[in-house]
């Protein structure tokens, strides 16, 4: 390494050095710490929701069980669904993207780092908010979908549903800002040479996901916002007797709710492609087909929300359209699965834990996909809708389709995050326990649904004949818990004492593997230049890199959207505590508003004050700009007023 590079490195270190202490922690704007915070926080909520599920399984393990009363049980399944969807699945994928996307596209930080910090704190406070209210006995109890009129002012007095609808606002905000950051980062901050057809498939999946978030979230925001208004200030958006419409709520909710499933699932498809390519030693078969399948899925996902409403009595022709749409969406997913099989078929397989999880995906997810084809059919759905068959289906799709690849991804990028390898033996053990436990728990639920057991029942009679299958399901849950405990133990232990991993333990192809493990705060000493779809495999021994970036300021290279030709350098903000305060004032507005509407105004005014600090220019920046301007004018032979 030349002396020049060493100077660069020292200066980059100084410029990007993370602040320390509590204040430093709250001021962090680096994408890696924030990404990891998202992941760790989401896993905590995963644990809470898992505990809720375990309690429900305990309750259902015996007919006429009196362990939990209906009130507790109804809160538990509401909190379980709400937590898993809003506080675990979406944020954990966002966390992965925040950590990985900037590394994969070869830049130093996400676009809008302060917004990124703000998004995390809003998410965290939203989660704290709903769990505090739960602990205080105001846990939401109208289901994760909160259908009106059950969730309306007439049938759910008290603060429970207000808590739920306001928690949506928190997670919405956070999801929207992440979607914006990821889109801009992936479109404008790619390393030179990474044209659209060379973007890693995970980044593509996050681009599609981010666009879906931008279009889906406003719909549920309207739904939960109207609901909050109906409840808090007596509007009648959903009140049938005052000219409102109860079905409108379902449309708004599912216009978001169905794409939501794909918002969770599509990032997982990205993980699978990345993992498969590393462990087969070849690029994923059919890159253009893979990308167009993702985009097609993203569009189609908005055309099938009505299949959640087949029992509401819609006209037959309309229902047939949504059946067709629901069936069609399985085609792009099918094609991706075939492409992956082709990748395995022609690849050189190295079976390690991350790959095992992907193999688990195949075994489990395909069952969920096929049961999805079944319930896309209106007549079958009329029997299966709102039964345990759906509980089985959705877990096969979400755990099989998203959690298996996610855990695979955890293992895959663990060496990058920590610089150490995990224990392969424990990894395999936790995988097999999860695969067995998952199937023992959820497969019997298909049968339970067919045998007439509806969802969301806190008890059932012994005469129904559901006891044995319920006991089997509850027993399976034990394996799942064991698997998760082993996986987390593995991570905690290996984080300190695992074998050193090196930069690229899997010999993978994307840019994040070219830098140190864990990567330095500035990611890359030099912004890389990409010359193929598989950045590292296609790199020449003397692969060029970008020079001329300033190292004494936090600077990123902005490139053109299509071909990633360098466009300009952009300075991005460093550590600041302002986003934390803005999240606090947002919380004042949102939390307060469910008790007294004026708190919303108070919180908004406080936010405006904080935003003044956010947008206030820094004196040194202004001076430096003026200085540059002067130099520039002098160089071109102009005159500078003194």
């Amino acid at each position: 390494m030349s002396e020049y590079a060493l100077t660069d490195e020292r200066e980059l270190h100084a410029t990007w050095k993370p602040a320390t202490g509590l204040l430093g922690w709250l001021s962090e704007t680096g994408h890696k710490p924030i990404g990891l915070r998202y992941i760790v926080t989401a896993m905590c909520f995963f644990g809470a929701a898992g505990l809720e599920a375990a309690l429900m399984r305990l309750q259902l393990s015996r007919p006429n069980n009196t362990l939990l009363g209906p009130d507790t049980y109804n809160q538990l399944f509401t909190m379980h669904g709400t937590t898993m969807m809003f506080l675990f699945a979406v944020p954990v994928m966002e966390g992965m993207a925040i950590y990985l996307v900037p590394l994969m596209v070869g830049t130093r930080n996400v676009a809008f780092p302060r917004l990124n910090a703000y998004g995390y704190f809003v998410y965290l406070f939203g989660g704290i908010f709903i769990y505090t209210m739960f602990a205080l006995g105001a846990g939401a109890d109208a289901g994760w979908f909160a259908y009106v009129p059950l969730s309306g002012p007439g049938f759910s007095p008290g603060k429970r549903v207000d808590t739920w609808s306001q928690m949506i606002t928190f997670t919405e905000l956070s999801a929207l800002v992440v979607a914006i950051e990821i889109t801009v980062t992936a479109f404008k901050q790619r390393a030179p040479g990474m044209s659209l057809n060379r973007i890693p498939l995970f980044v593509w999946s996050m681009i599609v996901t981010s666009f879906m978030i931008l279009f889906a979230m406003p719909s549920v925001m309207l739904g939960s916002g109207f609901l909050a208004l109906d409840r808090l200030v007596a509007t009648h958006f959903f009140n049938q007797s005052e000219g409102g419409d109860t079905i409108l709520y379902q449309h708004l909710f599912w216009f978001f709710g169905h794409p939501e499933v794909y918002i969770i699932f599509i990032p997982a498809l990205g993980f699978i492609s990345m993992i498969l390519s590393a462990f087969t030693g070849r690029k994923v078969f059919g890159y253009p087909v893979m990308v167009s399948s993702l985009v097609f899925t993203g569009f189609m996902a908005f055309g099938l929300w009505v299949h959640h409403m087949f029992a509401t009595g819609l006209p037959q022709l309309g229902e047939s359209f949504f059946t067709a749409a629901s069936i069609v969406i399985s085609i792009p997913t099918g094609v991706q699965i075939f492409c992956w099989i082709a990748t395995l078929w022609t690849g050189r397989l190295v079976i390690r834990t991350p790959l095992l999880y992907v193999l688990g995906f195949f075994i489990v997810f395909i069952i969920g996909g096929l049961s999805g084809v079944m319930i896309a059919s209106v007549p079958l759905d009329l029997q299966l809708h709102d039964t345990f068959f759906i509980v089985a289906h959705l877990h096969y799709v979400l755990i099989g389709g998203a959690v298996f690849p996610l855990f695979g991804a955890f293992h895959f990028w663990f060496p990058k995050w920590t610089g150490r390898m995990f224990s392969e033996r424990m990894g395999r053990l936790s995988f097999w326990l999860l695969l067995i436990g998952f199937n023992v728990t959820f497969f019997p639920m298909h049968l339970l649904g067919l045998m007439g057991m509806p969802r969301r029942v806190y008890t059932y009679g012994a005469q129904m004949g559901w006891t044995a299958l319920n006991q089997l399901a509850s027993a399976g849950a034990v394996f799942i818990v064991a698997s998760i405990v082993i996986m987390l133990t593995n991570f905690f232990v290996s984080r300190r004492s695992g074998e050193p991993a090196g930069n690229n333990p899997w010999n993978a192809d994307s840019l994040e593997w070219s830098t140190a493990s864990p990567p330095p705060p500035y990611n890359f000493l030099h912004i890389p230049v990409v010359s193929g779809a598989n950045a590292l495999w296609d790199a020449a021994p003397d692969q060029p890199f970008v020079t001329g970036m300033r190292t004494h300021r936090r600077e990123v290279l902005v490139t053109k959207t299509l071909d990633a030709e360098p466009d300009h350098r952009e300075e991005i903000p460093g550590a600041t505590i302002v986003p934390f305060f803005l999240a606090l004032t947002t919380t004042v507005a949102l939390w307060g508003a469910i008790f007294f509407a004026w708190w919303f105004t108070v919180g908004t005014l406080l936010s405006v004050i904080v935003l003044l600090f956010w947008f206030w220019p820094k004196r040194e920046d202004v001076e430096e700009h003026l200085e540059n301007e002067r130099k520039f004018t002098l160089e071109r032979g102009g005159e500078v007023p003194t």
Binding site: K283, G313, L344, I367, G452
Partner: protein
């Protein structure tokens, strides 16, 4: 997989058609699963034996053909399933003239059942129990008094939501006699789990007898105990919610009790209708079905005995 509340044990025309469609979907999907997983396992075996990945043009072309074939077969299979699904949907969704009409109204957490008739005194009002003649097409209209419920009698048909401000309808036709169970399928609050109903499919002759009997007013008390019971019932808060035809009780907030003793369950399928359960229910319904609208009642032993004797005489 038989059962009194099972989609796998059809007892009606519609459920049977759905059951056939289920078999078609099940076998097609099972075949797809087996084939896909077989290719996947084969790929695993091939991939593990290999030392270097094969990415030459010939192999990529072969893979393109394979993936294209897979996609083609998938599309054809899905089109077939779609056609079968639409055909079944059409068959179960349309019907000729209904010979009988039943109105079911959802309440938190019980079912109000009405057999309408042009003459007011021939209207039947009952609760949590539906009687239907076999071999007869029946139109079921569903509505709700409060939140959304969903009426699901899986042995006869799929479910249909009960939505405020709307009346939904569907057709059923039982093809064999039997006693089945239905349950609310849309989460409707605290006691969603205990909102069931009994469905009795019987021969047309039996149904006619039941229908004629239900149209009669409640029988008069025959013993002193029953007489005292009726007086007590009419003087206690019972009359605020319940109706008994032929008496001064005509409230509609709770189930109609005119022929309570002919019904097999209490509290929407929560309890078997017997003397002990009935007494417990009257005294402390909230303990049995927490959150339900029936309050606990204060009756002394004599009163309770009389009221239960009277209610048990309502055959």
């Amino acid at each position: 997989m038989t059962g009194i509340q099972s989609a796998l044990d059809p007892a009606g025309v519609q459920a049977a058609q759905i059951h056939n469609l289920w078999h078609l979907f099940l076998w097609v999907c099972a075949a797809v699963y087996v084939v896909t997983v077989a290719f996947f396992l084969l790929a695993l075996i091939k991939g593990r034996r290999r030392v270097e990945p094969v990415v030459d043009a010939a192999s990529e072309r072969r893979m393109t053909i394979a993936v294209g074939t897979g996609a083609g077969v998938t599309i054809v299979a899905l089109l077939g399933l779609l056609t079968a699904s639409v055909a079944t949907g059409h068959a179960i969704g349309t019907f000729g003239n209904a010979k009988l009409e039943i109105q079911v109204t959802g309440h938190q957490w019980w079912w109000e059942v009405t057999y309408p008739h042009a003459e007011a005194d021939k209207i039947i009002r009952t609760a949590n129990e539906i009687h239907i003649p076999t071999g007869t097409p029946i139109l079921v209209r569903v509505a709700t008094r409060d939140v959304i419920h969903s009426l699901w009698m899986p042995n006869l048909h799929g479910k249909r939501d009960l939505i405020p401000g709307r009346v939904n309808k569907f057709w059923i036709e039982a093809d064999r006699p039997g006693v089945f169970r239905g349950q609310c399928a849309e989460y409707c609050g605290m006691q969603h789990a205990n909102m069931a109903l009994v469905v009795v499919a019987e021969s047309p002759a039996d149904f006619d007898r039941w229908e004629q009997h239900q149209r009669t007013p409640a029988p008069d008390p025959k013993t002193a105990e029953q007489l005292r019971g009726r007086q007590a019932f009419l003087s206690l808060p019972c009359v605020n919610c319940h109706a008994i035809t032929g008496t001064d009780a005509y409230a509609t907030l709770g189930p109609d009790l005119t022929h309570l003793a002919t019904r097999t369950t209490l509290a929407a399928g929560t309890l078997i209708n017997n003397k002990g359960n009935l007494s417990g229910w009257i005294l402390n319904a909230p303990a049995i079905k927490p959150g339900n609208q029936m309050p606990a009642n204060v009756l002394d032993a004599q009163q309770l005995n009389d009221v239960v004797a009277y209610l048990e005489s309502l055959r």
